[in-house]
């Protein structure tokens, strides 16, 4: 039972492995999405305080979770790539960023569309909303920096530094924003979910979060495959691929 896991750290073998894994994750994402939406719209009861508007939670909370989780994962792989000079981990890191930014945008958007009927405004300078906005800026900064650098190895390493600096700063930023928010408590915004949230709501939310997770894996794998092809276009295995002798 000795599987050589390091084999898959080579871009070429990862390319084929990822290609075989993608269909399974697509199926998982679609099934989870259907179950999640079904529970969200047909099983979960109407919230007695917020009526039907709360059903935005089934995309809002998973999107917000994924946006934060993906940033940490991105910084982790970028850091590994910087520390051990493994090309594949840096490629994964840059493949994660667009999906992460998309979820951040989605969390902000749905937050606004939930806030309007509940709080009466599209935007409040709430600690969580503000931190999410700053997270969006961090993703944009990471992607623009990598896009501005032509040499891929320099882009990987520079991106890793800015991602790691961002990760160190996120807690500091979060607590300063939180503190700032309590000081400037304007119109009372108390959207703390009651602890006894209906189980169907919680289940729906968790399943939707899993679906978002599977979706992110699909996107990241696909994008990593393309980055591998782009960077290794002059290697022997890619030219074999061209001649159609691939597995």
């Amino acid at each position: 039972m000795t599987i050589n896991w390091f084999k898959y750290a080579s871009p070429a073998s990862f390319y084929f492995l990822a290609g075989r894994m993608i269909p399974f994750f697509i199926i998982a994402a679609v099934i989870l999405l259907i179950i999640g939406l079904y529970i969200g719209f047909f099983v979960a009861p109407t919230d007695f305080q917020q009526g039907e508007a709360y059903r935005i939670i089934f995309i809002h909370v998973p999107a917000a979770w994924m946006s934060m989780f993906l940033y940490v994962v991105m910084a982790f792989w970028a850091g590994i790539g910087l520390a051990f000079n493994t090309r594949l981990s840096s490629m994964v890191a840059s493949a994660i960023a667009p999906t992460g930014a998309m979820f951040t945008f989605l969390a902000l958007w749905t937050g606004a569309w939930w806030g309007k009927p509940m709080w009466g405004t599209w935007w409040v300078w709430d600690a969580r909303l503000t931190s999410e906005l700053i997270l969006f800026f961090l993703y944009i900064g990471f992607m623009s920096l990598q896009a501005a650098i032509d040499d891929p190895r320099r882009a990987d390493k520079a991106g890793a530094i800015i991602a790691l600096v961002g990760v160190v700063n996120i807690p500091i930023i979060y607590f300063s924003v939180q503190w700032w928010n309590t000081l400037h408590q304007g119109a009372s915004v108390s959207l703390v979910q009651s602890p006894k949230m209906a189980t169907a709501m919680l289940t729906g939310m968790l399943i939707m979060a899993l679906a978002a997770w599977m979706y992110s894996i699909v996107m990241v794998l696909m994008r990593t495959r393309m980055i591998i092809l782009e960077r290794e276009r002059h290697t022997a295995w890619v030219s074999e691929l061209k001649e159609g002798v691939s597995k």
Binding site: I134, F137, G141, L145, I162, I173
Partner: protein, 219 residues
């Protein structure tokens, strides 16, 4: 070594005095534009003053970041510095400190005068100056990372703002918060201690991260 770098950079800055003055006047102009935009209502201006002065300081210090390494990069000095046996972190620390002496200190000295424009009480003026004194070195140190990462890139100037401004947010919050707390008659020591903590943390980590970034950018 650090002292030598600071001395050298200050000498270079004195030869090109217009750069220093440009940053300072940018700061003054931005702060003076706000009353023209929002109206001369004194109560409102007094409330806005800490935020306005701090945001202007952030922008002014960021504008000058591009110069921190670029001239040494262009004439090849930076490459020699990387090759020399002295510690790169120490060297970077010297560059960040001289950046602060050239752009940060003039802002600190100018801030009380600008605060008077906004009718801040004397105590608030003192707190404003103190908070800038503690906060602007953090801006230079954190900014050094961004400047090193974007070295020699096209459009580096705009990019550096995208990278660095989100990281400046804690300094902005507590810097402006200190002044607000003092005008509201509350204690402001906690804010200043936090700014001091930020300064210590960035003094420890930033030279190291900047040195790593420089090595990446010059490789």
């Amino acid at each position: 070594m650090i002292l030598w770098i600071i001395k050298r950079d200050l000498l270079l800055a004195m030869r090109r005095r217009s750069d220093v003055l440009t940053t300072l006047f940018f700061f003054i102009i931005v702060v003076s534009l706000f009353p023209l935009g929002v109206g001369p209502e004194m109560n409102m201006l007094r409330m806005m003053a800490p935020g306005v002065v701090w945001v202007a300081a952030l922008l002014a210090s960021m504008l000058a970041l591009g110069r921190m390494f670029s001239s040494d990069y262009v004439d090849g000095t930076l490459e020699q510095m990387l090759l020399s046996p002295v510690s790169l972190s120490g060297l970077v620390m010297g560059k960040a400190l001289s950046h602060w002496l050239v752009t940060g200190v003039p802002l600190v000295l100018m801030a009380p005068v600008l605060g008077i424009q906004y009718d801040l009480p004397v105590e608030a003026l003192m707190v404003l100056t103190l908070s800038l004194l503690l906060g602007t070195p953090v801006l230079s140190l954190v900014g050094a990372i961004g400047a090193a990462l974007t070295l020699g890139l096209r459009g580096g100037g705009v990019l550096v703002s995208l990278l660095v401004l989100p990281l400046y947010i804690p300094v902005l919050i507590f810097g402006a918060g200190a002044v607000e707390a003092s005008t509201a008659g509350m204690g402001f020591d906690a804010h200043l201690s936090l700014l001091g903590a930020f300064l210590l943390v960035s003094l420890v980590f930033s030279p190291w991260a900047t040195a790593a970034s420089l090595r990446i950018s010059m490789a």
